[in-house]
């Protein structure tokens, strides 16, 4: 599973990344998690509000910090 956290690096973005790591660990998923900080790269996803979460190429949330539970729900849906 490919998970991308989009965000220029403010506190909210770091928090979302941390929550993603927690969610993946709690579910025991071996995921490829990366943070994308480059604006041009972020824009390619059609996202203007960070932090955003991308699972397998699809933007599932933008402009809010999902908590661990919400991320777990999104991950199990895939």
């Amino acid at each position: 599973m490919k998970i991308r956290v989009l965000g220029a690096g403010c506190k909210n973005c770091a928090q979302l990344e941390q929550n993603v790591f927690n969610a993946a660990a709690e579910l025991g998923i071996d995921a490829d998690i990366q943070k994308i900080e480059d604006v041009a790269e972020i824009m390619k996803y059609g996202v203007m509000s960070t932090p955003a979460l991308v699972i397998n190429g699809k933007v599932v949330a933008a402009g809010r910090v999902l908590n661990t539970e919400e991320i777990k729900r999104l991950l199990t849906k895939q």
């Binding site: 220029a8 403010c10 909210n12 604006v39 390619k44 059609g46 203007m48 509000s49 402009g63 910090v65």
Partner: protein, 318 residues
């Protein structure tokens, strides 16, 4: 509701602390406890409500709406959407690029960028709590007007060349909007309340404490002489002082409330608050990534001059 709270705090000060409400200490203490409770309660309820509404206006949708309008309407819409569209300051860059890329004129983009910080939700809540609905409304309306006309002026000046070149080269992808259920929206609103209250509570308490001391100890009408209607320079000085104070934006408002009680003119106070929230150094630094210093300078000047004018206007009519 606030009368009941005021009464309860009065009982607390008089019967639990055993300090007369008519003494200076009693008056300061009542002001501090009452204002702290009132502001924090109001802040939690209102940020929740505002955030819930905001979850319906993500920047992606705002961009779509704005690309359909032109002329004055576009500026006014951009300014209004600036109030409800949620974005944290680090989203300013993608937001700016996204707007420009969608063909939204630079002036319209600035209408959005000017109003957005001026009509700050925390400042709005505190104005309702401390000065009542009328002043809060005046604050929102002037914020929208400054954004609308500021953007129109920037648009007329033809400053596209002061946007960093790379902005025009980025292409944004398309995506379908994610569906938010009402539970997601509640979650979004709750997270915002927690985030904002956590970030500002200390500033608010410090601000209220300073306000309380001014309220109880500064002699009546002491400031009228320096910052009252009689001093034509007061608004100008207030705006100049407000710009570097950004980090304490929220704490300055209760101080201002107490100052008004001591004779500072209301227009001067409003101008000060707008300067504190709208013209912040961190925001300039972020915008520097997409626009050149010249345009930042023009943006600051137009916004600054408008705020000063608004200050004088209110001192004149209120």
């Amino acid at each position: 509701m606030s009368a009941l709270l005021s009464h309860l705090v009065r009982l607390l000060v008089e019967n639990v602390f055993r300090i007369s409400i008519n003494s200076r200490l009693g008056e300061s203490l009542h002001f501090f406890i009452y204002d702290s409770l009132k502001i924090l309660l109001l802040l939690s309820f209102m940020i929740f409500a505002i955030s819930y509404i905001r979850s319906f206006f993500p920047p992606e949708k705002t961009r779509q709406v704005l690309s359909k309008f032109g002329g004055f309407t576009a500026h006014l819409m951009a300014s209004l959407l600036g109030i409800v569209t949620p974005f944290c300051s680090c989203s300013s860059v993608p937001l700016f690029i996204g707007f420009v890329e969608a063909g939204i004129p630079l002036g319209v983009t600035f209408s959005f960028l000017i109003t957005s910080p001026i009509v700050n939700e925390v400042a709005l809540v505190m104005l309702v709590g401390l000065f009542g609905l009328k002043i809060a409304l005046v604050y929102v309306i002037t914020g929208v007007l400054i954004g609308t006309f500021g953007g129109i002026i920037i648009g007329k000046l033809g400053l596209e060349k002061y946007v960093e070149e790379y902005v025009y080269q980025i292409t944004t992808g398309q995506r379908e909007e994610e569906k938010m259920t009402w539970k997601d929206r509640v979650q979004f609103a709750k997270a915002n309340v927690k985030d904002i209250v956590k970030r500002v509570w200390l500033f608010i308490l410090i601000g209220i404490a300073v306000g309380a001391i001014i309220h109880g100890y500064v002699p009546e009408n002491f400031l009228t002489e320096y910052a009252g209607r009689g001093n034509p320079l007061a608004v100008f000085v207030a705006v100049a002082l407000g710009i570097p104070l950004y980090s304490n934006a929220i704490g300055t408002i209760p101080v201002v409330e107490a100052l008004i009680g001591k004779g500072v003119a209301i227009g001067t106070a409003l101008a000060f608050m707008m300067a504190v929230t709208a013209l912040s150094l961190p925001e300039m630094i972020i915008l520097r990534k997409v626009i050149k210093p010249r345009l930042i300078g023009i943006f600051v000047s137009i916004t600054g001059v408008s705020i000063v004018m608004v200050g004088y206007l209110f001192n004149f009519i209120l």
